[in-house]
Every structure is written in structure tokens, then in C-alpha cells.
Symmetry: C2
Subunit: 472 residues, 2 copies
């Protein structure tokens, strides 16, 4: 696929040769200080490979870094500017940036369109300068960009306030800055890896459609997630969404669904939420999966990042707790999937291998006195059974005879070699969290409830069916 | 209210004078050993105050405890027997227990009705002995009873496999033993306090209705939660549910809702799940709140344990992140509640106290540069506003100027002195979890997403409306 212009245009946001931090300061805790510290720290860690140029007319030096008095003075390799000076100074600075030939700008500063007419006028002025000079702008009123792989981090909340997630296959785009920050913090704890995060705030220039077009060609990204309050250019969104859905899945959490939510959204980002049924129709038409809430969004994203796509909607469930198997079966119906009918061969094999009190079937209940070997028989039968398209393995690690590391290795092995998606469900406390983390590091997505595990599979099935529909 | 017979009958299960552990052994990891160790450890910790009598014909002594050769030899103060010997020996042991005059028996042993006809015959024999001799039986095929306050702990998974939750106001009853174990483990991690846990397995004698009648009079219990796959005696269930709902709320997670789930339930506990619409009708008629999944069940239970009941369904939302406010507003509509219209006075007060970029309204957005004081103005206005019945305070602890301990203390103070329910929502990672835990210890329930916080409020409103309907 030929790479469109947007790929080159957005590249400096994610891997700049040199970043100018306009409004950098030595005052701890200030936005311009935190952003400078982020880049400096990532440079010291060897992650950020570019140059760092603080800009501030009142300073000569910050922590050993030369400070530039003006944009004009900046070295020629500067290809990204991050602005955190007060709103009223931004238009003039944009002119300097244009003159300097810098083509990528993140405007962190708030106090524009969201505050009224004067702010809207300034936004218009900035946009005109950008358009006339081929400059792409992320923001204003945003937390900007975070890329674990390249060390770009304009998130102005210091690491003492907010953890950063590790590198991974999920791109995350958010219209809300605070939500983006909370999500990054949460993803770090949940062990969810991020390829790129973009929080675009007032979405003056770079928008969802641009980012989708970029992510089509971004090898680091396997799945794209969006938190959206409103889309400005519906037609552009639809075209880009259709394009990317051919190649990788998109999951959107669109809030402002209800009258109450729409009203709140309009006073938050000024978004016209629009009739929710229109969004539903657009998402359906373009293959975008609509998430109910952020847990749903990342549950499904994790499955896309780690799993193969299923060939159909027939789910097989293996459990060591009967109750959890019942809940998972209910979830299969609730999320519009089918329970697989195991083949005669699978049933015969399991009955031969199982003690009389274990239950061969779907769900297969290896019961509370199971060891890892009994799970292995079940997983093997399900993996080989042509009637099973996707597998949910519920592991209550609490049962007394189950060697935790043994079942983890079995799951990781079959997940790797099978061409079916396999997800795990583990309910419990601290020990369960510990083992779940190890299992995820070995490539198996783990969910805390049967419902969430099955719902993640439903996301895979939804997308696989979309691909089938549009491709053949 | 006069205490019914059941209160005295079930008392020995929860606070026995002396427990006989029939099948106690010194073989580490065996069921009879873990249960003995649980009681012994809790005795050493000073929690279990009763006597412990291991019973095993082949041993003289276990870890300094005298072992009784038979039930007949047991001291006269024995008022609870816990049985973990093989199924085939249980009927004869029940006869000995009857002769000895012990009236409370937990049968941990599995291999009865769930395995077929011979098991059902033995169950019938046990039931006849129990009925003839006024013995109450919990089980068989269960993990039994856990009471943090009295140190009763028949859960045969050692603490190395499964953590135990602290003491609290929530009673938890489970038809599934493995689910009960996973839930206790999870509750321990989540900081959820349990008054009493009962896992009754095949529900031969003591059932949901008996337990509801007991919990009506149990001062330690403020709210009762059930995991149920099927109810045997519908009329008895309805009568008891109606009685307890007058006094304290009941939340039920009834699985086997769908055809798939019902089929799985029948092979798990042999439960006839029955038409789900019937359960829906029964729960509605009796004021029992139906939970979607275990997170929903404990989310709402936590709110009941900590909050006052609302006088109406008008919700007020305070947030420092606009996006989270939009999501919470959507949730208010989704869960059938109303957004409160703030009074003119509240709006005037907030506009006077707020900087121009903060948003007075519902949601009130104190925005990302908030300090704790700005939250305090908002909470005060909402607490005093006659148009607000319940309050959801979203705190993204990541924002830079918010002193975490200050906002925690403000929330705890207003939650305590207001007659309205107040819940908090905190999204984020490890630091957020840390502060959320402190906030919960100070009595404010905290939820990880706006949806779950609002849904918990919806549970309170649902029950408050039921009480209003049946009482006035």
C-alpha cells in the first residue's frame, strides 16, 4: 500500500529529530518544566534519541541544557515544537514557527475555543498560519503525545503523579486529556502496552481521521482505540475508518450517548454529540467496534493485540469451577456468540482421560481437584476440535492441586501454536493477579471475570465477521 | 422483632462452643488438615474462642491437640461437626452425631447427588437422620463457613493459596464452592469486608431462605449477597426474601439466565435454572436487586455497607476531568436515574467561588488545575442543595495541584455528616489504588470507573424505592 502524505507529516510528532520546548522553565511542577524533564529523563535513559531545545527568553540554561531565547535562534534540525506558553502569546509564536520552517506543533496550552469567542478567534488565526505554511498541529488544550519506544512524552503530569505504560501494540487516542492521563496510569498498572498515545484536545487540525490514516502504516500498532466525544467531519471520519478497518481493528468509546451525556460533552469540549443512532450506524458501517466503557475498550484491544482472529463464533469453555462455567455460558448467549458442540472424538478423548467426576462437554469442567495435566487434555481437545472457533480457559488458581507455573506454561504453549484465539479468565486476589501477570507476559490475555473474557472474544468475532463481509 | 427458631439453630455454625473436625489429619494439604489448621491458627491468633476436637480413629494427637477416636468419645460441649471423610462413611457418622446430640453439621465432602443415583440415596438417608434428630446440615459438596469475627473457617484452601477478607458488613452466600473461594480471595484484595460467608453446595438442608431468615437478626450483617444457580423451594424463598427486604437489602447474582447457562448449571449443581423471566419477577416482587456479574454485586453491596439511602433519584456529579463527567452523565441515563437540576443558590455560590474556567453545573467540572478547596466548595453546594439526592465525586488524583490527603479528608468528612449517599470514582494506576484504599478505610466507597460508581448509586435508589413502595 502506498503511504499517503499524512504518514510523513505526522512522523515528527512520534519520532522527532529535535524537539523545541517553548515555555520550558526551571520551576518544578510547572507544565513547561515537567515536559522538559520528561524528554531529559528519557534522553538519559537512552530512549529519546533526538535533541532537546528549551525555549525561554528569560533563561540561559536549564540543568545543563542551553536555553534558546527565541524560536528564531533554534538550530535547523528542529522538527517538533511543543508549546506551553499562555494562550495569548501562541499566535505570534506560530508565526515565528512558520518562519523557522518547523512543520509539527503540539499546543498543550488551554484557554482557547473552550473558553469563548476570543479563544475561538485565536484558534482560527493559528489554523490559518498552519494551513498557509503546511504545519500540522495537535491540540490546543491537550496533553499531547506519548510514545514509549521513542521517548516522546509531552504529558505534563510528572511520573510521581502518574505512571507510564510499557511499549505495546495498542494505539490510544483521546479527546479528553485528563481521561488520557488516567488511562495511561491505569494501563501501566494493568500491564497493557501502548504503541502511541495522542490526546488532541480541541482538535484544531490533526483529527481522528488523520490519525487512523497514519496508524494504517504504523507497524508498531496492531489495534487502535479512541475516546471520542464528537466528530467534526463525519465524511472524512467514515472514509478513514473504512480504510483502516481493512487492515487493523478500531475500537471507539464514544461518550455523550444519552441526552444527559451529550449536554455534559457540549460544556466539556464543545462537541455536538449528535444523535447517538447516527454514531451507531457509522461504527457499524465502518467496522469500528463500539465499547461500552474503558474496561470494555481495553479488554477487547488486549485480545486483538495478543490473539489470532477466530474463523467463526463457536466458543469452547474450560473451567475448574462449575459456577464460573455457568457464568461464561450465559455470557456467550448475552454477547451473541454460540456454544460449540464438541465433536464425538473430543468427548471420547476427554472421557477416556478424565476421572469420572470431571465433566467432558461444553463447558468442560476439570473440577476442583484438577492438576495441570487435566487442563492440558481439555485444551488439546478443544484446540484440535473442528467445531470450536475460540477458547476461554477459566483458571481458578486457588484449587489445591494445581501447579500454577505448569498450567501457565501449558496455556502459553497452546495459545502460541494453535490458530484459534485463546483467552484466560482468572478470578481471585493478590496471588491470582501475580500469576495473571506472568501469563500475560507469556502472551495470553487474562480477564478478571468470565463475562469480560467472553466479551473480549465477542470483539474478535465481530471484527472477523466484518472483514469477511467487506472482503469476500 | 421476635427471633425465629432458625436464629438459634444456625448460631453454632457461626460461633460454636466447640468444633469437632471429623476427618482431621496431620497430612499437609489434605482437606481435613487444612480445616484443622485454620481453626488452630485462628485459636492461636485469639480469634477463635471455642474448643477444637479433631476426630480420627488412627491418630492420638495432631500438633499438640488430643485426637478423638470416634464421635461417641467427643466432649459434651461439642456443638458443631465439620465432616471431611469420604462420602460412603458419612451416613453412619451422621447416626453417631445424632446419638451424641450435636445439632449442627457442615458436610464438606463431595461425591453425593452431583454424581448420580447412589449419591442421591445417601443424601436422602442423611437428610432423614437430620430431620428426625433436629440436626441442621450445611452442604454436602461445599466449602462451608467463614466468619472473620469468630474465626470459623472451614474453607479447605490454605492461606498460601487463598487470602481471607477482613471483617465487614457484607454477608456472602454461594452455591458454588470454587466461586466462593475465588470471591473471598478477591474481596481480600479489594478490601471488601465480609460478616459471614456460607457456601452450601448441594443445599441438602440449610438453604437461601433459612440464611435470609438468619441474617435478618444478625447485627453484623448490613447487606446480603447471593450467588445462586437455582432455587428449590420457590415459595419459601419468596417469603424469606420479602421478610428480609423490609429490614436489609439483598443482592442476587443468579446465573443460568440463558439457555446455554441453564444447561451448564444443570450439569454443575443439578439445578433446574427455570425460566429466567420467573426469577426476574420474583426478585422484583421481593425487592431483591439482581446483579449482572460479581463486580456489580459487590459494587452495590459496598455502597449499601457504607452509605445512607437516598431520598430520590436525582444524581449530582462533581469531576476534575470533563470526559469522566460525560461518561458519568451517560451512566445516569443508562441506569434509569435523573441528573439533578442544581438550585439557583448552588449555581450562584459555585460561580462566586470558582475561577472562570471551572464549570458550575451538573456535572460540576472543577477542571484539571483544581486544588482540594475547589472540590470542597462543590461538595458543600451539592450536599446543601435540596435538588440533589445522591452525589458521585470523580477524583482523578493525577492532576498536579490536588493534595491527595486533603481531598480524601474532605470527602470523608462530608460523607459522614451529610444525610445523602456520597460515592467516589477514581480512575488510574497504582497511586490511585493506594489513595482509593485510604479513602475506603475512611468510609467512602470508591469505584474504578464512572459507570460503576453511578451503577452503585442506582442500586441504592432501587432499594430505597422498594422500601417506599412496600412501607408507604
Amino acid at each position: 500500500m502506498e503511504k499517503p502524505k499524512i504518514v510523513e507529516e505526522l512522523k515528527p510528532f512520534f519520532e522527532p529529530k529535535a524537539v523545541a520546548i517553548i515555555g520550558a522553565t526551571d520551576k518544578k511542577g510547572k507544565v513547561g518544566n515537567v515536559i522538559f524533564e520528561n524528554f531529559k529523563m528519557n534522553k538519559e535513559r537512552g530512549i529519546f534519541k533526538g535533541n532537546i531545545y528549551p525555549v525561554n527568553p528569560k533563561l540561559d540554561e536549564i540543568e545543563g541544557y542551553k536555553v534558546y531565547k527565541s524560536v528564531e535562534e533554534l538550530p535547523e534540525d528542529t522538527d517538533l515544537a511543543v508549546i506551553s506558553i499562555p494562550a495569548k502569546f501562541v499566535p505570534a509564536t506560530m508565526k515565528d514557527i512558520a518562519k523557522k520552517g518547523i512543520k509539527s506543533v503540539v499546543i498543550i496550552t488551554g484557554g482557547f475555543g473552550e473558553l469563548g469567542e476570543e479563544g475561538k478567534r485565536m484558534e482560527q488565526e493559528i489554523l490559518e498560519i498552519a494551513r498557509e505554511n503546511g504545519i500540522r498541529v495537535i491540540g490546543p488544550n491537550c496533553v499531547g503525545v506519548y510514545v514509549p519506544d521513542t521517548g516522546v512524552d509531552t504529558v505534563f503530569l510528572p511520573e510521581s503523579k502518574m505512571d507510564r505504560p510499557k511499549s505495546g501494540e495498542i494505539a490510544f487516542v483521546s479527546q479528553s486529556g485528563a481521561f488520557a492521563a488516567a488511562m495511561l496510569d491505569w494501563a501501566a498498572m494493568a500491564g497493557i502496552g501502548i504503541s502511541k498515545m495522542v490526546s488532541y484536545g480541541n482538535k484544531l487540525d490533526v483529527d481522528d481521521a488523520d490519525l487512523m490514516d497514519y496508524f494504517i502504516h504504523d507497524d508498531a500498532t496492531k489495534v487502535v482505540t479512541f475516546y471520542i466525544e464528537g466528530v467534526k467531519d463525519g465524511r472524512k471520519f467514515i472514509e478513514s475508518a473504512k480504510r483502516i478497518s481493512q487492515v487493523k481493528p478500531v475500537i471507539a468509546l464514544k461518550s455523550g450517548r444519552t441526552e444527559y451525556g451529550a449536554k455534559a460533552a457540549s460544556s466539556h469540549t464543545g462537541s455536538l454529540a449528535g444523535a447517538d443512532t447516527i454514531y451507531d450506524a457509522v461504527f457499524k458501517q465502518t467496522g469500528v467496534l463500539r465499547a461500552e466503557d474503558f474496561e470494555h475498550m481495553f479488554d477487547v484491544a488486549k485480545a486483538f493485540a495478543k490473539c489470532k482472529l477466530p474463523k467463526g463464533d463457536r466458543v469452547g469453555i474450560i473451567t475448574d469451577g462449575g459456577g464460573a462455567g455457568v457464568m461464561a455460558s450465559d455470557a456467550v448467549a448475552k454477547f451473541g456468540l454460540r456454544m460449540a458442540d464438541l465433536s464425538e472424538e473430543s468427548l471420547r478423548y476427554l472421557k477416556e482421560k478424565f476421572p469420572p467426576h470431571a465433566v467432558a462437554g461444553n463447558p468442560t469442567d476439570v473440577v476442583g481437584d484438577t492438576d495441570a495435566q487435566r487442563y492440558k487434555y481439555a485444551i488439546e481437545a478443544f484446540v484440535n476440535d473442528p467445531n470450536v472457533d475460540a477458547i476461554v480457559v477459566i483458571v481458578l488458581f486457588q484449587v489445591p492441586l494445581l501447579d500454577e507455573m505448569e498450567i501457565i506454561d501449558i496455556l502459553a504453549e497452546y495459545k502460541e501454536k494453535s490458530d484459534k484465539p485463546i483467552v484466560a479468565v482468572a478470578m481471585g486476589g493478590k496471588k491470582t493477579e501475580h500469576y495473571a501477570k506472568i501469563l500475560e507476559e507469556k502472551g495470553v490475555p487474562v480477564y478478571p471475570t468470565p463475562e469480560r473474557g467472553v466479551r473480549a472474544i465477542a470483539g474478535l468475532v465481530h471484527y472477523a465477521k466484518y472483514l469477511e463481509r467487506v472482503k469476500g
